[in-house]
Symmetry: C2
Subunit: 395 residues, 2 copies
């Protein structure tokens, strides 16, 4: 049978990044394309001890159906943690546990957008989120990212002139892929502009705890006196992505509708996984673990930057990010970006072509995205050295 797919899904093509990532399943390929946490960043012994205890003392709750809103002790723990760490959480807010932060993106889009509505994004932005918006038939409107975050003046122009904008999607800390962090001033201005035009802000903060230099900037949600910000957080980068436990903090009216949507999507996030996260907070020093991870990534980021400076030199332009997982590198104007990526792959190094992060990927860009968390230190050195050899071929 020849299937006729829905309009929203027909337009969603397997992305360049997925094709590249397929290549990285080959263990001979050095993976600078992925976004996986470093294996030594996982608290394996803690998860083992916690899981044993849960299954020894409370197996039925771990294996039985749970409620769509999430495991209540975990919801309470997250609410407390957000309050203490980010000063997030007003009386009108509520926490919803989700299956990865991608599900926050999915549910916000589902409850706010009709087909044809517009989502405003930073350009470039995370392809997973862009594809989620596309999968609901949304139009994407990109706002350029400057060194201190989204161009908020350009944003206001768009809000002024575009109909049916339902929300603004931003990754304010160590943005994927650009690595930039939005300044406090821009966060305040973004909030004011969104409020003025009555548009929701979806603040996606998967990398916030992965700061390795510079000073923490208050989250946009911490300024949210009007209930217009949905804050998406995740345990994927600080505990484990494979457990698929994330959350959002948002106005309770929005969370109520998202819960109805979640009920119809996957009913609830696995109980065992939620209980593992809850017990991790209860029994271990999460802040100390985050410091440990920051040390791992500081070392890896510095190593990759040193290698880029040594082997690629002035062939690429980049700004060293203050955290996150990615370095966004600009190739010379006379180098074909996709040609460079292809040649890198021939040398067994996978990087992501920057096109993947554009609203309209038929546009061109000179950027590639490099990841420093997935490869071993040896892989970082060998990988960047190989990119240096590719660069040589253009000189």
């Amino acid at each position: 049978m020849k299937f006729t797919f829905s309009n929203k899904i027909s337009s969603l093509q397997p992305s360049a990044i997925r094709e590249i990532l397929k290549a990285t399943s080959n263990p001979e390929i050095i993976p600078l394309a992925a976004g996986n946490p470093a294996p030594d960043a996982f608290p394996v012994d803690e998860v083992k001890a916690i899981t044993k205890e849960i299954l020894d003392t409370n197996p039925i709750e771990a294996l039985q159906y749970g409620v769509s809103e999430g495991y209540q002790p975990l919801r309470d723990t997250i609410a407390d943690w957000l309050k203490q760490r980010e000063n997030i959480g007003a009386d009108f807010d509520s926490v919803l546990i989700t299956s990865g932060a991608t599900q926050v993106i999915d549910l916000v889009t589902k409850v706010l957008c009709n087909e044809g509505d517009t989502v405003v994004c930073e350009e470039p932005s995370f392809i997973g989120s862009l594809n989620c918006f596309r999968s609901y038939g949304c139009k994407l409107k990109g706002i350029p990212v400057e060194d201190d975050g989204m161009d908020v003046n350009a944003l206001e122009d768009v809000l002024k002139t575009t109909e049916n904008i339902k929300f603004i999607y931003t990754i304010p800390n160590f943005q994927n892929p650009s690595g930039t962090t939005m300044s406090l001033e821009k966060r305040q201005k973004l909030y004011a502009v969104a409020k003025k035009y009555g548009v929701v802000i979806l603040e996606d903060n998967p990398y916030g705890e992965l700061r390795v230099s510079g000073k923490r900037v208050p989250s946009i949600k911490s300024m949210d006196t009007d209930g217009i910000v949905v804050y998406a957080g995740s345990f994927s980068k600080i505990l484990s992505p494979g457990l698929r436990v994330a959350y959002c903090c948002a106005h309770k009216d929005l969370v109520a509708k998202m819960t109805v949507g979640k009920q119809a999507s996957d009913v609830h996030t696995p109980c065992l996984n939620q209980m593992i996260v809850y017990n991790w907070f209860k029994k271990y020093d999460v802040d100390a673990h985050i410091t440990k991870i920051q040390n791992i990534y500081r070392k890896k980021l510095t190593l990759m930057c040193d290698c880029i400076d040594e082997y690629l030199g002035d062939f690429v332009e980049y700004v060293k990010p203050e955290g996150g997982l990615f370095i966004w590198c600009k190739l010379p104007d006379d180098v074909g970006m996709l040609d460079f990526v292809q040649k890198a792959l021939e040398k067994k190094v996978a990087v992501v072509p920057g096109k993947a992060f554009l609203m309209d990927d038929t546009q061109s860009t000179q950027y590639i995205r490099l990841n420093f968390s997935t490869p071993t230190d040896d892989g970082i050195v060998k990988g960047i050295k190989a990119l240096g050899e590719v660069a040589e071929s253009y000189r």
Copy 2:
């Protein structure tokens, strides 16, 4: 801020069943409204041993990102099991691991339906699936369920006269809520009719292994020489619902699109949970465990039917199902169904009003749904006895 929700979600109201289920979180209430597996049906010791071994020997794979298609050894295991147990799986088929079978329903709807398209369902049918279809802005068209399953003649009339029907949703075994099983003859006719009109069949089989009497009927997917059937299966009822691991077997073109949709929904189903299911198949006798569960449910079903006969007598009409989790009971015509449900709740017994399972829940029905898997044996006796007292008040 006053939110404006999407059209598809605005129309989705918190359902009667959810309100009733909230009451069941009160431990004083006897839960005949839920659909939870009996706690003694969980293979707790096996899950403990498996989980320990996974985290001892392969923790990084369990905690790291996985691929959207699912854990390959589990996909292979399910494909083999479906072939051996159900004669399911053609060369053009592929298996996708999902986060509960609800996600199969979600992804099929996402990839096949535009807003305003029609999904044909048995009437009554599972409210979770109906709400999923509604959450994509689909219209629902109900086909009456007879004692041997969907009225296939009525189905053909609808296919003949209704535009933009994208798929037919059926629960052929121990249908939720009616408990009926579709006859082989009707399955063959349903397949022929769907083929004739070029419409996909979504065969949802969460309860198939919970047969406690009668003879197994071949699945519709086992007849699928044309690749038009999506088969949804789940480990929720035979292993654990809290782990949220389910799957579909469908034509690979459809699975490819569903995988793109899953990538944008929750990226992948948790690795640890998939590895638990895989190792359960590898190390334990799954068929023996299913036999054990069948024995548990046979006893509970028989107990509930005996109690109904003793305490409710000819006040209700029902057909004893050959398996599943539910008994569908018709109240006398002169009894207000919602009034009866309310009076039962006052006696601390929760049952589900049949309205919840209608396409249009402003219609009326005399049915209530009773579940025999969740309550203890004592709860079954006390619960039905209390319903008998409510019935007395109408005599």
